[in-house]
Amino acid sequence: MKKLCIVFKQAPHGTAHGREGLDFALLSASFEQEVSLVFTGEGLLTLLKEQDPESIGCKDYISTLGALGLYDIDTVLVCQESMHEFNLQQNDLRIPALVSSAEEIAAHFDHVDEVMVF
């Protein structure tokens, strides 16, 4: 079992990166890899509540975030600096996430086997 960290650095809609990242995360978890997620920069916006992607013709992969626990994906880190930059609070986020400093995220990268950026 490998420890796999998936980083979301891009905004959720308008490109397929975020959806591909989440598909990759769920698929890896189905293959019993130990998957963790990091949200940074505009990628953070993936976690906002009250999104309605279907209204702009995008697939609603945001709802799938609610199933992360069932896929045993329990480690979700969000970048503290990005939270500040975008003026967001933890209760703006739809799933429980650990607000982490850059140093904590760097330490997490050291700890895992592979880091994939979407």
Partner: protein, 109 residues
């Protein structure tokens, strides 16, 4: 393509409905018959479960997740692959999602 109540319902080449909204409970036994399954209450419990799962999370559950989620909701005696394979011999995730009118799960045994 399935003919139902005089209407043509589109499917992909594996028999999964192209549109989730084309499904109705009356359609389930017809899809099930294609899979050689006669729906019992036990089947319905799983079919309804995967449909609700899809409507909530917008994704079809793969087998491992299905087992875990059913275990949490319907109890451990049902949240195991042996029980689910008894109901859906070819593959619970594959067949239950098909009968529930959902897209095929991404990683599907």
């Amino acid at each position: 393509m399935i003919e139902f109540n005089g209407k043509q319902i589109e499917t992909d080449h594996q028999g999964y409905l192209k549109s989730v909204s084309d499904w109705s409970p009356e359609l389930a036994p017809i899809i099930a018959a294609e899979e050689d399954i006669t729906l019992t209450d036990a089947h319905w419990e799983v079919v309804n479960f995967v449909r609700e799962f899809y409507l909530e999370f917008k994704t079809s559950p793969a087998i491992r997740v299905l087992v875990k989620a059913i275990g949490q909701k319907l109890g451990e005696d049902k949240g195991n692959s042996k029980y689910l394979y008894t109901l859906f011999p070819v593959g619970p995730a594959k067949q239950a999602t098909k009968i529930a009118g959902l897209p095929k799960p991404a990683k599907c045994i």
